[in-house]
Amino acid sequence: MYGLGLLKGMYVVLRNFVESYYKPERLVTVQYPEERRPLPPRFRGFPFLIYDDDSGALRCVACQLCAKACPATCIELTMAKGEDGKPAKRPETYTLDLGLCMQCGLCVEACPFAALAMDHDFERAVIDQPEPLRLGIDQLRRPFSYLEQINPEAANALAPKPAKTAAGAEERPAKSSHGGREVTT
């Protein structure tokens, strides 16, 4: 009949109108600044450098693997010089260009020393941009406890390395396949 389909349409919209007042699953809008949806642990913000809570030392050994793995070449880092002139296994400068980074997470997968993880802060909008978009070491470093809080599953995968003992390598969870890319995050 000619008008029936239109009436059905109106019935559906009316039902939605009425139900949106008492059925929670109809009204799904989250009032963003006041209410917030909990971010899933695997959410990929920008990467950050992990440092052990107690020793405060960065886990990064400046091996440049993450810089090579990044499709958008947004990571630059230089190795620090020790007191006796020999290269020390610490980054002296580590800059991440936020303008280029597309938050794909390949750097985290490429890092064998589990020194990188994906952050959860996405509210980077500022009215005036004092700090340039290139983050240095001090803006990138986060404690390991922060990682456990935002992404527990990745945290236990990147278990903190015990002191440099011979058995150091074994404490890490046995890799499922030798040399294969360890699924870390």
Binding site: V28, R42, L106, S177, G179, R181, V183
Partner: protein, 381 residues
């Protein structure tokens, strides 16, 4: 005297009364061209006499960049092709690379890939049907109902892969990470609730007289013309051709699932709408079976870190939500592909836009374009 109104022109001289064609350029900034896409239409009154699609505004040298990145670094780039179906692009690229190197992903990874592709199909069809009715003029109501469901699926994607649309989830030889705990339960609740939503959606739209008046008989695409133009996907099936790559190739583990392929009768816009609604129901069937049969085990085959496929080329394709999405990779033995070509379904489905639109009105051209379902990221690459 005005030179047109020459005194001796006979009263009914047709030349005198025919109007010249009004050339109207629809786009690139236009609310209903689904991205930066331009249609130069020559109008005779309201009817379209000629229509020339103009695109290329979103060209980003995707394939040239692909030649300077390693196979793994290309993976996040494929998200940006058809930015609505992120996972499907990743998986298609992974399949092509595996065919090149002859790698067989483990069982669990195959099941996860099927689940992710079918969820992407739901996301894409929801978005399409919503925006098709929005082009028809239904002021955002169907779009917002469809988006309410789509958000649930995107939340699942975010929990699994970390990104809602740019997922970067597949890897050569499997998938990047295993499912987090509890996600299969979430997917199951989504699948159980989905048919009720689809019934309500069909109740709102399928028998709507105005929608039928507007869609039935507009933009008819004959089966022969579609096959000749290489059109694939729901647009082809709506014209009555029963060709679905999941059935034709039987790639990955699709032969294990029993599902049916909806095929339209006349190939007009209403058929394309109906085929997509039925495809959503079929995807639900596949998802239910895939979830039931999800085995345990590793999610990634052994692939060397410096992935160097042997010399040679390979063409891998999947039945993407928009049609046959194919990747052609030529390897010269190095870690970077020598040639990286994408076969985008949107671009090829766009070739017959003029034949479908000529003779109709502008309002029809807009919904015909909407029913073909193009995404400019994929068309321009």
């Amino acid at each position: 005297m005005d030179e047109h109104m020459s005194a001796n022109a006979p009263a009914h001289d047709p030349e005198l009364l025919d109007t010249d064609l009004l050339e109207l350029s629809i786009g690139p900034q236009h609310p209903s061209t689904h991205g930066v896409f331009r249609m130069v239409a020559k109008l005779d009154g309201e009817n379209i006499a000629a229509l020339e699609p103009v695109f290329g505004y979103l060209h980003r040298c995707h394939e040239k960049i692909g030649e300077s990145l390693t196979y793994l670094q290309n993976m996040p780039m494929t998200d940006r092709l058809d930015y609505i179906c992120g996972p499907a692009n990743n998986i298609a690229y992974a399949i092509a690379a595996e065919k090149l190197a002859g790698i067989q992903p483990p069982e669990r990874a195959e099941y996860i890939r099927v689940i992710m592709t079918e969820l992407t199909r739901l996301v894409n069809h929801l978005l399409l049907v919503g925006f098709l009715t929005n082009d028809l003029g239904a002021f955002f109501t169907p779009v917002l109902y469809a988006f309410r469901e789509r958000e649930k699926i995107l939340d699942i994607f975010e929990a699994i892969t970390g990104g809602r649309m740019c997922t970067n989830y597949a890897r050569i030889g499997g998938v990047a990470r295993d499912f987090p705990e509890g996600i299969t339960a979430e997917i199951r609740t989504l699948i159980d609730a989905f048919p009720r939503f689809l019934d309500e959606f069909e109740l709102l739209l399928s028998e709507n007289e105005i929608l039928q008046n507007r869609c039935v008989g507009t933009g008819v695409l004959a089966a022969a013309a579609a096959v000749n133009a290489g059109i694939s996907g729901p647009v082809l099936r709506a014209s009555g051709v029963n060709y679905d790559i999941r059935k034709a190739d039987g790639y990955s583990i699709y032969p294990r699932f029993d599902f049916r392929v909806p095929v339209g009768q006349t190939g007009d816009t209403y058929d394309r709408y109906l085929v997509r609604i039925c495809e959503m129901r079929e995807s639900l069937k596949i998802l239910r079976q895939a979830l039931a049969g999800l085995p345990d085990g590793p999610v990634q085959a052994k692939v060397p870190k410096l992935f160097k496929p042997p010399r040679g080329d390979a063409y891998g394709r999947i039945e993407g939500p928009k049609g046959e999405l194919g990747f052609y990779l030529v390897s010269d033995g190095s870690t970077k592909p020598f040639r990286y070509k994408v076969r985008p379904p949107s671009l090829i489905n766009l070739t017959l836009l003029e034949e479908m639109c000529v003779g109709h009105k502008i309002a029809d051209a807009v919904i015909i374009l909407g029913s073909i379902d193009i995404v400019l990221g994929e068309v321009d690459r």
